[in-house]
């Protein structure tokens, strides 16, 4: 009897956590469809007015473009770096492996504000503080541990005897890698790239310090307008972001399974 009560209590607590975790996002989406623009829930009258107004706002459009540029750059850099490192670490053992993993993870253990102001002071020496390059590099620092971990998990599931067989049959290292390994780990590669893209898309604190009026990303633009009060355009852009991220997660989930996505990253 007591055990059953406890189990229901546990379920209730988890259900409540889930509600608090997920429902606010639904709420944000709902407010984007309200006609009044007063950002209330539930919406009084449904309308697409704010979505239609969005493309006419140069600041917001610019921020979407900036986010896409930075996220694409981050995706390229950190997928390449993470994949290379995962391949290298495969042959390392013990201490050296721990050292490499530790170095890759280190940036994640430093508070974002500190990374932000460090990058700001460092890059401003070279006049790069508001450039795309600075932000791509800074985001790669955070995305690479994740691509690295996804690729490590992917490579550990690959049967490397296939690669050996290709080499024994006379394929050079590059050819064996491109024709035997890559097709087999394609799903993992896509997931690593998606994760890197999303990490950059959603990163905020570093971007706040490293962007200027011309390079502002969506989260920074949303923050600036939130600081001035509730703005229905923030609901609209939040909805766009939530839908985009949901689609990317569905793609990644279909490719490798949600279970692995949750466990590997």
């Amino acid at each position: 009897m007591r055990e059953r009560a406890l189990r229901w209590l546990f379920r209730g607590a988890v259900g409540l956590s889930f509600a608090f975790l997920a429902l606010p996002l639904v709420l944000v989406v709902a407010t984007a469809f309200d006609a009044s623009g007063s950002v209330v829930f539930p919406p009084e009258q449904l309308s697409l007015a704010w979505f239609l107004q969005f493309p006419g706002e140069p600041l917001w459009v610019r921020s979407v473009a900036n986010s896409l540029v930075v996220a694409t750059g981050t995706m390229g850099v950190s997928t390449a770096v993470g994949t290379a490192a995962a391949l290298a670490v495969r042959r390392l053992g013990g201490r050296r492996r721990t050292a490499v993993v530790g170095l890759a993870v280190l940036p994640l253990l430093v508070p974002g504000v500190v990374i932000g102001i460090t990058m700001l002071t460092f890059f401003s020496r070279f006049g790069l503080q508001q450039s795309y390059l600075a932000l791509v590099i800074a985001h790669s620092l955070w995305a690479t541990p994740l691509t690295f971990s996804v690729m490590q998990a992917t490579f550990s599931r690959f049967d490397w005897r296939l690669h050996e067989a290709a080499r024994d049959l006379g394929a050079g290292p590059t050819r064996a890698f491109a024709t035997v390994v890559v097709p087999n780990v394609r799903a993992g590669l896509v997931v690593a790239a998606l994760v890197a893209f999303v990490v950059s898309l959603q990163e905020f604190v570093i971007a706040l310090f490293l962007t200027g009026p011309d390079t502002r990303t969506v989260p920074v633009q949303a923050w600036n307008s939130l600081r001035q009060g509730l703005d229905p355009l923030v609901s609209v852009v939040s909805t766009i972001l939530i839908v985009a991220v949901t689609l990317l997660i569905v793609v990644a989930g279909v490719l490798v399974g949600l279970d692995r996505l949750a466990a590997d990253t």
Partner: protein
């Protein structure tokens, strides 16, 4: 792994050079744009202050550290930040572990829904989450509407612009990480072990306590590390959903840098923050028995 490679062909020097070469990009990234800038920050923290803005190029001084160690405000901010970090970490680890355990136990749709909730929240930008927290918890928000509507409370509760708001905001940022780091470890646990415990007469709670929890320990440690680091470095949450008295070191650092143009003090405070974070993490690791699995997760 070594038997596989080694049995067919002994490792040759070129192969070792190849793997060294593959590490170069990571080293360039982490040393070149992380460790070097961190070194620069350290150097900056030892420059002299100047009223003309920024810092005195090439000077050596301890102005920044004097400010950090001798200002009452900084002590208050530090004390608050550490307490805030501990509170958020405790809540986050508890919620994360329970949620991950439920997701691990669940099957079919329940599992998909629970995991998607966590993954979606993880990948939603914190600005959107903070905006959502405002909508949900403000005096005219959904929670207060519900509570006053049901007659649970007469007056709307003040849940934002105070400590509660700052803690709630920070939880939204760290809990998804906590859930997934515990889940990652749990997903490697053999269900057969739990069934065996149940068959041998253990209650569910006892099986959870004596079989599942010990296995999940490395994941719980990671959840704690992530929650603590991120809460001590909290910036946006306390700024948007706290009041003026919920000032963290992160908020103070940015203010010193951007509005007071006191770069040596900002750099010194950053260095001290990093040192404190790492000291606490090392102490926790040491207490947990030097968990080597932490870095592998």
């Amino acid at each position: 792994m070594s038997t596989r490679d080694g049995w067919i062909r002994a490792p040759t020097l070129p192969a070792r050079w190849r793997s060294a070469l593959l590490l170069v990009p990571l080293l360039v990234l982490d040393v070149g744009v992380f460790l070097v800038p961190m070194g620069y920050l350290l150097r900056l923290s030892f420059t002299a202050q100047t009223p003309d803005g920024a810092f005195v190029e090439g000077s050596w001084a301890t102005d920044g550290y004097q400010y950090v160690f001798e200002t009452g405000l900084v002590h208050d901010v530090f004390g608050f930040t550490l307490g805030f970090g501990v509170l958020v970490t405790a809540l986050s680890v508890a919620i994360g572990t329970a949620y991950a355990y439920a997701a691990w136990q669940a099957t079919g749709w329940t599992k998909t829904v629970l995991l998607s909730g966590a993954v979606l929240s993880l990948f939603t930008t914190m600005v959107v989450k903070l905006f959502a927290v405002v909508l949900v918890f403000s005096p005219r928000g959904v929670v207060n509407d519900l509570l006053t509507g049901l007659g649970v409370v007469a007056e709307p509760l003040l849940l934002i612009d105070n400590l509660t708001g700052a803690v709630l905001a920070q939880l939204y940022i760290v809990v998804p990480y906590a859930i997934l780091s515990v889940y990652a470890v749990l997903s490697t646990l053999d269900r057969g072990l739990v069934e065996a415990a149940l068959d041998l007469g253990a209650t569910r709670q006892r099986a959870a306590r004596e079989v599942v929890l010990p296995h999940a320990r490395p994941g719980i440690a990671v959840a704690g590390v992530v929650s603590f680091t991120w809460s001590v470095g909290a910036y946006a949450g306390p700024l948007l959903l706290g009041s003026g008295s919920e000032q963290t070191t992160g908020v103070l650092i940015s203010r010193l840098l951007l509005t007071r143009f006191d770069w040596p003090a900002a750099a010194a405070l950053s260095v001290v923050t990093i040192v404190v974070v790492f000291a606490v993490l090392l102490a926790a690791l040491w207490r947990l028995g030097g968990d080597g699995g932490l870095l592998d997760a």
